[in-house]
Amino acid sequence: MDQLEESHYFHLPSQGNIYTITHLEAANCPHKILVASLKRDIFCIEYQESGGCLIPTTKEVSFTYIPSGAEIISVDAFNKSATKNEFVIGITIIKNSNLLDSSFEYYLNIYSEWEESDDFNIDNIAQNCLNVELSFTPYQLTHTDLIIWENEQITTKEIVFLLSGSDNQIHIYREYTTDHLYKEVDKECFPEFIKTPSPVVWIDIYYNDNYSQRVTAMACECGYVRLTQVCVKTNKLSFNFSTKLNNYISHLRLYPDEKLISLAEKPVNCGLNLVVVNTILPPVLFQNVLVYGLSNYVSLPRHDYTCVLTCCQVADVDFDGEKEILVGNSSEEIMLYKRDPDKGWCLEELKMFASPIISMKYVDLIEDGVNELVVLSMKGVHFLQHDFTHVDRVLNEKIKLVNF
């Protein structure tokens, strides 16, 4: 990780949270990071190319229907079009409607473009709002594919918003294009979304076997973790495991453990792993959950027990073909866990930051083929690039490997 160097830093006027950063992979224009801060400000950050060098630019986007005094809980975005731009951005807000009593109103605001286009204009999106009033405190806003099979054929495939709430439920919001509105739909397509003992803090969904299997992992405030698999064709639960990890869980992530064969072939999937980041206790890695459920696990060592773990990212940051686990914490560090063939998972490195880490993403923002690590910290957003001489060296090795 010492190969990662800060290329830009954006100072936020107020703090964000674990749900307030999202990534827009816009077509035909620079990719963007959308980051929201508690006190209503939403920023769109991108790198613009000019004369051989990149200029990081930040634009404050004024989304409509976010009243003054409202606070932003979560942000999510997706592109409905595969080749062009048809972005949908969801923002959940909490608003104190009456200053005298502490009654709050909660909304899910959905911003979208009218139609798909080659251009991307975030200001247009920000003006086109659909409003859903919520009867619960919103938590994580995310999205997934809604898949419906009929006679061995996928008849419906569209992206829906998922929102977890203080009512211990997960809510699904689907677009009705004819009426031009978003409505909450029944959970019949998602039989795994049964009520949890406490609000779901993080949910991660993974589709397997060409959308015929769906693995869902959910983590709750109380430490309850549920892992389910649904056969999408029959819409039946194939398994349902749960466990209790005692403390507040901040993040969880399903990731395929891929074996790389060659450049031409797709990597072979050899199992699905689940990382659960517990705020106080060490992170737990459940290995090969499709075979072992939640029984085959290791816990990742911690170096100090006084900080709160907030987020994680699974990525191959050292280009060795094996994925590493990055965990961010409140003592201003990102911890890098690496699997050692003999000793198992060890804490390999610590990278220090200027303020506590809240969230991170490992994405190719600059579109140069090398991913950047985008880190949301308490005070701002850090953009880290891999050191070019190191990338050159790795690329040289890899080209030699491919050729011989």
């Binding site: 160097e5 830009h8 990149l54 990081p56 450049l263 191959d316 140069d368 005070k379 890899k398 490997l401």
Partner: protein, 470 residues
């Protein structure tokens, strides 16, 4: 604009108000490590080395300037402290300080006959083997100094002390040894101090039309020194001293003992830099000369360029060469401090400016800019190289003195380049991928050069993330 956050930092406690020029970085004990020296309005000067405060000099009056340099012209650094009420103190670490430290202590204290003397050695806190800093000279000078420069202004190989005063006067001084006339301040039984028999003699006095912003020493491309004195409104006064004349002047001074206001041979001119846009004529201005542009080894034309920087409180930063503005930028922060530092380590000095609210801009000579924001208001700022441990090379650092009685040092600034760049693979590397099946290198080169950007980045992505290291 690109911005960075900084992680490596040290924090020291230091009470009191610090004047703009009462902070410096320099090697006062001549061990090759840079120390941080800060003076305040209560007459205290603290010296920080590595991660601790190694020394505190107390009982001075309002410290307005501190500087480290070879004031005695004997290839050894000393610490010069000038107070606002007109005392100049020179401190030094004796050559054989380690073994003599305790002894020197006693002697100096016993030899302390001046009632105004403010020997600091009574702070016996540092009992370890560290060399002691002792006061070797005290002299009364005109009051109200606010700027100090130690440098050779007349090209005679000797270091002069130049002071800028709040009453628009610039004075220059040089140390003159008087070995046969021991001053009454030093007793005969103190052989250690024999070498300091002498005094700073006044060489010149210049009066400016307006308040002095800052003073800097600048060398033109042919190596001739001149003094640049910043004047309000982004202008400056330039003083050139001819060595021959000043030599005569010195003799005159020594003979007559009187100081003359006008010096034959010191040419003065005002520069307005032909700034066309409307500006506040009274805005205070900072100036800094002698920017290194290029490695000393390379004898190219570029290396001979010698620009200087001008910054005004209303936020204009300019790089000027031969009185022609190379470029100027305007920022909406009140810039009060202008420093130079080779942040990236490429041999070129970068401009580092700081505003009252803690916004710091690092600019290279090509106008590339990086920002850093300290979340606190700043009362004094400095940057340079600082040694964290004795064995390590000094590292780049930014020093902020806040209004909350703390000194914040950000060290080892991780900037290798001020520009943000896309990763561009070396084409000859990628070419090897296409050199199978009898394709000639030229054809492969052609293929690689014609790859569109999307394909190229996809290729790099797959190579990096989808090929297992053996």
């Amino acid at each position: 604009m690109r911005a960075i956050s900084l992680v490596n930092r040290l924090e020291f406690q230091f009470m009191g108000n610090v004047a703009r020029n009462a902070v410096t970085l320099g090697d006062i004990d001549n061990d090759g490590c840079n120390e941080l020296i800060i003076g305040n309005n209560k007459g205290e000067v603290a010296i920080f080395k590595g991660k601790e405060k190694i020394k505190k000099i107390t009982d001075l009056t309002f410290v307005s300037c501190v500087a480290v340099g070879d004031i005695f012209n004997k290839q050894k650094n000393s610490l010069v402290i000038v107070t606002a009420d007109g005392w100049c103190y020179i401190y030094e670490v004796p050559d054989d300080g380690i073994s003599l430290s305790e002894e020197v202590d006693g002697q100096v204290q016993s030899g302390e006959v001046l009632e105004y003397s403010t020997e600091s050695n009574r702070s016996q806190g540092d009992k370890d083997e560290k060399p002691q800093l002792v006061c070797v000279h005290i002299q009364r000078i005109p009051a109200n100094a606010k700027n100090i420069v130690l440098g050779d202004i007349d090209n005679d190989g000797m270091i002069e002390m130049i002071l800028g005063l709040t009453d628009r006067v610039v004075r220059s001084y040089r140390w003159v040894n008087e070995p046969h006339k021991p001053s009454e301040t030093t007793t005969a039984h103190n052989p250690e101090n024999l070498q300091y028999f002498g005094k700073l003699i006044a060489l010149n006095k210049w009066e400016c039309a307006n308040q002095i912003g800052s003073i800097t020493l600048h060398h033109t491309s042919d190596g001739k020194p001149s003094l640049l004195i910043a004047q309000p409104g982004g202008t400056f006064m330039r003083i050139r001293c001819q060595p021959d004349d000043s030599g005569q002047a010195q003799e005159n001074l020594e003979l007559s003992g009187s100081s003359s206001d006008t010096m034959p041979g010191s040419a003065i001119d005002y520069q307005f830099l032909g700034i066309s846009r409307m500006r506040n004529q009274n805005i205070s201005t900072e100036i800094l000369g002698d920017f290194q542009s290029g490695h000393l080894e390379s004898q190219s034309e570029d290396a001979k360029k010698c620009p200087y920087a001008v910054a005004t409180l209303d936020g204009t930063i300019m790089l000027v060469q031969d009185e022609v503005i190379l470029w100027a930028i305007a920022v909406d922060h009140q810039i009060f401090a202008l420093c130079k530092l080779d942040v990236t380590g490429n041999g070129m000095d970068d401009i580092v400016v700081c505003s009252w609210d803690g916004q710091t801009y690092i600019l290279d000579q090509e106008k590339n800019c990086v920002r850093f924001h300290l979340d606190e208001p700043v009362q004094a700022f400095h940057c340079g190289h600082y040694s964290l441990t004795i064995n390590d090379e000094p590292v780049t650092c930014l020093v902020y003195i806040t209004f909350k009685n703390t000194v914040i040092v950000y060290y080892d600034i991780p900037l290798k380049e001020l520009k943000c760049k896309k990763y561009e693979p070396r084409l000859d590397l990628l070419r090897e991928l296409y050199m199978k099946d009898g394709t000639t290198p030229e054809e492969a080169q052609d293929v690689v050069e014609n790859l569109d950007r999307k394909k190229k980045s996809q290729l790099i992505h797959r190579l990096l993330y989808n090929v297992k290291k053996s």
